[in-house]
């Protein structure tokens, strides 16, 4: 398959994705599908950002939602305090706040590895969550931040469901391109080196602490953007957006899909969204066990399919080819 053919397919698929609400309008559950897809894409951006850490750099972070939440709150609060709805301002604020927070937390955690790193990110993110939950004056506390402004681009109002979806889908395509480019760049290759043998990387002359911090800040910023998109979608920010549950959700998405790949987090977000949204409607209404089901699926993957769905796919492909 030549590069031209490949890129054409990608362009067509991206275009179809972005214009989904328009060509699917005739279907009955089109509205539901658009919302579901929108939320799945937001999760995908979130998961792609986490995969930079977990899959590429070998930094298992369980506190990534802190940046998602920070971005969401920043977008909402900036809009309210600065009395503007302009997307560049609120989205910019989200990215900036998330980046700064990632820098602060990053400095503290970047010299740890493995399980210790996991615990530190978890604990620090939980503190961020608790602050969001209790600081009622700024964040609305346990009631959340209501009245997040509409995303406006100049005079264009992006708050209709269709246009919000387009905004999310376009951001997703850009995010996927960024991650794809990063993976093939010297930075991406250096991150893999750090993951595989940090000591050797240092012996080669790489400042590994700085590399990890850069990855952490980059991932945090991207998560913050995902958070802002979530705020625009629901016009509401809940403290849970920064909570452990959300961090776990992203982690599960990455692992189930397949860490360290482009398609993994994307596939994972499809699966997790289905479990969260579609499965409950298949169960009797008294049983609200979507989290438990997610947990069981996650345990199954950790035990039997550590490389996620992408890994399973590769394995199946190899088996088919060797016949």
């Amino acid at each position: 398959m030549t590069r031209l053919v490949r890129w054409t397919i990608v362009a067509v698929a991206a275009a179809a994705l972005v214009t989904f609400p328009y060509w699917s309008a005739a279907w009955e559950s089109s509205r539901f599908a658009t919302t579901l897809l929108r939320d799945a894409l937001i999760l995908a951006i979130f998961a792609l950002s986490l995969d930079l850490l977990v899959g590429r750099a070998g930094m298992p972070s369980l506190g990534h939602a802190a940046f998602f939440g920070a971005g969401a709150y920043a977008a909402g609060i900036a809009g309210q305090r600065l009395a503007t709805d302009q997307l560049p301002v609120t989205l910019g604020a989200a990215a900036l706040v998330a980046a700064v927070l990632a820098f602060v937390i990053g400095i503290l955690v970047v010299r740890s590895e493995g399980i210790f790193f996991l615990m530190l990110t978890l604990a620090l993110a939980q503190i961020v969550f608790a602050i969001a939950f209790q600081w009622t004056a700024v964040t609305g506390g346990s009631n959340g931040l209501a009245g997040v402004g509409r995303p406006m681009l100049g005079a264009l109002d992006l708050s209709s469901p269709d246009l919000t979806y387009v905004l999310v889908a376009v951001t997703f395509v850009l995010a996927a391109l960024v991650v794809w480019g990063l993976a093939r760049s010297p930075f991406g290759r250096a991150l893999i080196g750090v993951r595989e043998n940090e000591r050797r990387m240092r012996a080669l002359g790489y400042d590994t602490a700085r590399l990890r911090l850069s990855a952490f800040v980059l991932a945090g910023t991207m998560a913050g953007i995902a958070g802002a998109l979530s705020a625009y979608s629901t016009r509401f920010v809940s403290a849970q957006d920064a909570g452990l549950g959300n961090s776990v959700r992203a982690f599960v998405t990455v692992l189930v899909g397949g860490a360290g790949t482009l398609g993994g987090p994307i596939a994972g977000s499809a699966v997790v969204s289905l479990i969260e949204r579609v499965v409950p409607s298949l169960l009797p209404p008294e049983l609200r066990l979507s989290e438990a089901i997610l947990g069981v699926v996650f345990i199954a993957f950790v035990l039997f399919a550590r490389q996620g769905m992408v890994g399973l796919g590769r394995y199946a492909w190899l088996r088919v080819r060797s016949r």
């Binding site: 093939r184 010297p186 250096a190 043998n197 012996a203």
Partner: protein, 245 residues
């Protein structure tokens, strides 16, 4: 080029280096030998910046690097080949070497040079160490001897001025040992090499001078012939109880 003054390194109560002083001029090939536990690997690790000394100073190229970390010393032209193979297992031989090539320009370039030039450089380096044809093999799939060759290729790809080799022929067959030895012999004469070795044939083939360590101290320092004839060195190697003042 390499200068070490009164270098000390203790691990709790265990003194690994007890005041080692060395001077290695540019272009010299110095072998460091000694019985097990003499402190040879500790010396290399302190020189490489992986272990801070508890006393003394390290100078590279006339510059005091005692406070510098391993990656900073690498940027000054220091390459280190470990005693135990330290590679990137899931990457191919070419990718392993390419990381070293890429290190020279740093990973933060926005407009990256195409990986092809890095790969071309990597392939050339691999050919030089005798791994032509194995470029696409995963590092973990290489034989032990091939991995040591790869280690050398990675180190050389850093374009170093100083090369630290910690037992490069360990665990190798005579054929592989001879090949690696000739490779090192054939290296650029401007390169300063410090090699820790147990295999005396390799030492005598390679070294301009030999330093003998015992219990963290230098007990002999001279040409290979001088050291071979040194009575103290004999005693140490034959296991006689020796107290060094």
């Amino acid at each position: 080029m390499i200068e070490v003054r009164e270098l000390r390194r203790a691990f709790g109560g265990v003194v690994a280096l007890d005041g080692v002083s060395l001077k290695i001029p540019e272009g010299e090939r110095r072998a460091v030998i000694g019985p097990n536990g003499a402190g040879k690997t500790t010396l290399i690790n302190v020189l490489a910046g992986e272990l801070p000394p508890t006393g003394g100073a390290v100078r590279l190229g006339g510059r005091d690097v005692t406070g510098l970390r391993s990656w900073q010393r690498a940027r000054l032209g220091l390459a280190h080949v470990y005693q135990r193979t330290e590679l990137f297992p899931p990457l191919t031989a070419r990718e392993n070497v390419a990381l070293a090539v890429a290190a020279r320009s740093g990973p933060y370039r926005v407009f990256r040079g195409p990986p092809r030039s890095e790969h071309a450089d990597a392939d050339a380096m691999l050919a030089r160490v005798g791994l032509a044809g194995r470029e696409g093999v995963l590092a973990r799939a290489l034989s032990h001897g091939e991995r040591r060759q790869l280690e050398l290729a990675v180190a050389l790809a850093q374009s170093p001025r100083v090369l630290l080799l910690d037992e490069p022929t360990a665990g190798m067959s005579p054929v592989e040992t001879a090949r690696i030895t000739e490779l090192i012999v054939g290296l650029d004469r401007a390169l300063t090499i410090l090699i820790v070795e147990h295999d005396m044939d390799v030492v005598f083939r390679l070294a301009d001078r030999v330093t003998v360590l015992h219990e963290g101290l230098v007990i002999a320092d001279g040409t290979p012939a001088e050291v071979r004839g040194d009575a103290l060195v004999h005693d140490v190697y034959l296991g006689k109880a020796v107290t060094v003042a």
